[in-house]
Symmetry: C2
Subunit: 114 residues, 2 copies
Amino acid sequence: MPQNDISSQMLKGILQGCLLILINQRPYYGYAISQELSRYGFADVPKGTIYPLLMSMEKKGLIIGKMQPSKDGPQRKYYHITATGKQARQIFLNKWDTLSLNVNDLINERRNDS
Amino acid sequence: MPQNDISSQMLKGILQGCLLILINQRPYYGYAISQELSRYGFADVPKGTIYPLLMSMEKKGLIIGKMQPSKDGPQRKYYHITATGKQARQIFLNKWDTLSLNVNDLINERRNDS
DNA sequence: AATCACTAGTTTGTAAAGCAAAATAGTAAT
DNA sequence: ATTACTATTTTGCTTTACAAACTAGTGATT
């Protein structure tokens, strides 16, 4: 399967892709991610979604979490990106380009249908 | 919840949105949809995904299927869009605009992170 | 000291979705 | 007859979404 096919995994993977973009920039912990995401229109991604997703990403070896104490509250689990995670991030970027181009094509070729 | 928030429903709903775009143009049957989608990079969306999705869209009242005989093989179930479906299509178009803008922002503001 | 508000993460349980695969069925060519 | 292509439905397994409950730390208010 070519890297740039749009699979349903892709459709589901946009959130994971966005997390990889964020964590690639610098280590993030879950709570901060949900705040950062809301700045990009992902309003209130539930923690019941984001924490299990981070755990599954760690299980896949894309990120690694490290507990660190905080003076402002309980410990924070900072996630760092791995080499595998960097690869996955690049694949996501390519797939996102393809997806958005193709969806826009599909839409634009039917612009005048009401 | 504001219409233009990106929800996880949105992430899952891209395929449904694309089906609404197609069926809004003219009636389609499942098999033809999967062929049309492959022209837009949605390579081989499995029939185990597409047929149940069409059925759930009919259940939601977005489309209506009508069986019609074919000279080239078994009957085809042509799906027609409903008024509710047209509304859902418009909502999808708005949400897609928001999603792609926000994801592109998130990516572009971190362009230089390797 | 007790409560509240905010931060922070894990776990649990249910519902829904994704999808491979099998079952059914029609046409047409070999 | 068999194969090949078209076409839809159904079954069963796995994964995902996520609300809700639970644990736990800090700091301010009562």
